[in-house]
Point group: C3
Chain length 129, copies 3
């Protein structure tokens, strides 16, 4: 499970990094807690963190379950695609909201593939047993 | 673990579906990113996704841990209750905010039961060892 | 895995409790769904829940992976620190947004330590195999 664990830890560190950027944007944009709106630059950073949270909650269990069905190499490829996609999402979104699509698609695609692998794998397991 | 994995994958797919509905509501309601407010129909869809995220983060570990303590049949029953409850929550909430209570209760109940099973199971494990 | 599971279940119960407080604040502050803004007391309660969600998504996999690398005693110590830190975060934040720092730091610190343990552990595993 080494490769899967590494992908999971890297995804957690990336998400933590996005959270740090939100904290910095809060200070630099002058958005006082508990507010999370009021400045478009802050809001874009915050949406990057929130959208990554939304995907991470799917990605982590999906990659973990898939690791029982596919080879570590494929876990690494799909995991790397997710991580790169998320960085492109960050880079695009903080520039302009319209530039978030490529990164979003690139990080959503491996999640869809992992879910398909999970569903196919678990259904085969249940029907074979 | 086949049944537990199936429940987890179905819960992830359901949550993904709720996210797709938010994306569609964003377009149809004309809410431009990064905003997540401004249109009540969009906000209700967004709250369905957010509340499901809030519950999913509890449900997934809770059902996983419970699978070590109770039979797959009970996992299936509690999981089905959660999934049905969430669909009723979606259907009620997008119609009117007041109509979200039944679905919320129906999806929160199996989570409370799972947490009780987890706590009882793990405490017995620790005191027996 | 008894200790790790106990920490996970306690973290889930604590998060559930924070969610109950948000529900109560919604009623007492008169914030009508789907709104999540409009009253500073409600917003601070809501931010406690959201920030705990943001950390929980990191904490749960991090503590689970770390349980393969460090002794249960250390899992218990780091887990207790997280739980206490989160309660201080709640207590501070609901009083005033400025009073949230101590609790935040105290709950973020064990997460950083767990992630370092995870990364070190998994890299050693991959290079040793």
């Amino acid at each position: 499970m080494g490769v899967t664990e590494l992908i999971i830890v890297l995804a957690l560190l990336q998400y933590l990094f996005f959270g740090v950027l939100v904290g910095r944007a809060r200070t630099s944009c002058g958005v006082v807690a508990p507010a999370v709106t009021g400045d478009p630059v802050f809001e874009r950073h915050y949406r990057v963190q929130m959208n990554t949270l939304e995907l991470l909650v799917i990605f982590l269990p999906a990659v973990w379950i898939a690791s029982a069905y596919i080879a570590p190499l494929w876990i690494a490829v799909l995991g790397a695609l997710y991580l790169i996609g998320r960085f492109l999402y960050l880079r695009g979104y903080v520039r302009a909201a319209e530039k978030r699509s490529l990164g979003f698609g690139l990080s959503a695609l491996p999640i869809l593939i992992l879910l398909a692998i999970d569903l196919f794998g678990v259904l085969r397991l249940l029907f074979a047993s």
